[in-house]
């Protein structure tokens, strides 16, 4: 269990933030929840007092229900573990053991997490639970999808630290992310702190329905991964929205997606942010170009960035503090830096993301990052998106291969000619071993529930 530490009086809990500005509204498919309703009702049933001071995991289906639980429990429980709805029973058991969970708040009677279940009830009028005096430890799984989940510890302050709370006029937010993932949680907390309406999606909801609700709510700010945005741009329903602010995070924003978004939403400010569950929000780039200014590396501001070896290291009050239940793993080094595992190359006054260190492809001893190759392929005007992966080769160890989704014009062309054109583009811009050995045109590429392109190593 985390030591139950008292919350400093100057640090608000989540319910305080929601109450400070009464204008928060969560717009879900079936209902809209106002700040007043969120603060005056409980979904935790008559035995909710039993959760006080405990380690509590929330695993519910709908985002709005999870939002209610987070607002109710922050400040009351010692540890709040928030997991996405697709978390399997096996991962749930592992997370419950690592985080020494006392109870799982859920709406799913079929769960077998190995600890008592605390079922959600229909919302009932209720006073807030206790005095909310605790500094709740927020515990989130990292985005890795293989092996046992790794959990990291944050405080509400480190999760909120990324942004100022006053924004005029108050934006209307929507996010393609689920609010139980770091990228979505950022937007949810941002909306809570700013008293901003937030349109929540539902996993089963068709994209067009979600966008229609965004339009009806007058959404001005939208956030998602580059994969989310590519999927949006492939849909005729993209016309339904006209955002003033488009935010990308969670994957590398390459030049092709930035330029396509600029063409699709000419009035919008387009920003890509660097953030991860472990390293927190690092920075936001708003100059419309891929990568980030190298001047950030020497910055002595609240977020310190360093290139060590080939990867980006981050030190700030926004990083997670440690892995929960894994004393054998160090999240921060002796100086407090988190190694992000993201490979960055500095060229002159600009730094470029090349990909994940773990995803590197080894072609006869030479390294290739899938992301840097995809970036070149995506620059072809008839390419929507691509996925580069390793293919075992008895002669070279690995070869680079590419799967490509074409746009409508590309799909009408002769495949062999288009293939040759894309290979030529790669040869002009990439080292020989990075040029795909084979190219396959596919109708679509799988996107994970996290909004990221499905990769084998992820």
């Amino acid at each position: 269990m985390p030591s139950t530490s008292a919350r400093p009086p100057d640090q608000p809990c989540l319910a305080d933030l929601v109450g400070a500005r009464g204008s928060l509204a969560l717009v879900a498919p079936q209902e809209t929840l106002t700040a007043d309703e969120l603060l005056a009702t409980t979904i935790l049933g008559p035995r909710r007092a039993e959760l006080s001071g405990k380690s509590v995991l929330v695993r519910v289906a709908a985002q709005a229900l999870c939002a209610r639980a987070m607002i109710e429990l922050d400040g009351c429980v010692a540890r709040l573990v928030v997991v996405p709805p697709d978390f399997t029973s096996e991962r749930l058991r592992s997370a419950a053991a690592q985080a020494e969970v006392d109870a799982v708040v859920t709406d799913d009677p079929g769960l077998e997490p190995g600890v008592p279940l605390h079922f959600c009830a229909a919302p009932q009028p209720a006073q807030p639970l206790g005095a909310r005096r605790l500094a709740t430890q927020w515990t989130l799984p990292t985005s890795g999808t293989t092996g046992a989940p790794k959990l990291v510890a944050h405080g509400l302050a480190s999760l909120l630290g990324a942004f100022a709370s006053s924004q005029e006029p108050v934006p209307v937010w929507a996010t393609f992310y689920d609010i139980r993932r770091y990228g979505g949680l950022q937007i949810f907390l941002r909306a809570c702190a700013a008293g901003a309406p937030l349109v929540l999606s539902d996993a089963q909801e068709p994209l067009g329905d979600f966008l229609s609700r965004c339009r009806a709510a007058g959404v001005t700010h939208i956030s998602g991964t580059p994969s989310h945005w590519r999927r949006l741009l492939m849909s005729p329903d993209a016309r339904l929205i006209d955002p003033a602010y488009v935010r990308l995070s969670g994957e590398i924003a390459d030049r092709a997606i930035l330029e396509t978004l600029r063409a699709a939403f000419p009035k919008a400010k387009i920003a890509h942010a660097y953030a991860s569950t472990e390293a927190g929000v690092g920075f936001e780039v708003t100059d419309g170009r891929e990568g980030f200014p190298a001047s950030l590396l020497d910055d002595a501001g609240p977020v310190e960035l360093r290139l060590r070896g080939e990867t980006l290291h981050v030190r700030s009050s926004r990083t997670a503090t440690h892995y929960v239940g894994r004393p054998d793993l160090a999240l921060r080094d002796a100086e407090g830096f988190v190694d992000t595992d993201d490979v960055v190359e500095r060229i002159g006054d600009r730094c470029f993301f090349r990909g994940r260190r773990a995803g590197v492809i080894n072609v006869g001893g030479l390294k290739a990052h899938p992301e840097e190759i995809e970036e070149v392929i995506n620059a072809h005007r008839e390419v929507r998106m691509s996925r580069v992966s390793a293919r075992r080769s008895p002669l070279m160890g690995d070869l680079v291969v590419a799967e490509i989704v074409l746009d409508d014009a590309g799909a009408r062309r002769e495949p062999a000619a288009l293939q040759a054109e894309i290979l030529e583009l790669c040869r002009a811009r990439l080292a020989r071993h990075k040029v795909p050995a084979t190219i396959r045109f596919v109708p679509q590429l799988e996107m994970l529930a996290s909004g990221k392109l499905a990769r084998r190593h992820a």
Partner: protein
Amino acid sequence: MSRRLTIVSQIESIATEQRKQLAPLRDDLALADCGLDSLCFAILVARLEDELGVDPFAASEEPYFPKTLGEFVAFYERQAA
């Protein structure tokens, strides 16, 4: 298309793509002298697997690498798709 023709046409297209000068493709041509390097051969084997459905290099128990073009073609012809 016969396996031989498939192999020869893939060798020619890879050589063009990779800007390699090919020696005349006769059966007794030593692969080491044909003009393709090891990366080209790896690409060739991958593309032939896509086209023919077989990778005799991955399938064979004993490590074997044909020395001439004729042996290379025969290696593929021995593998049933």
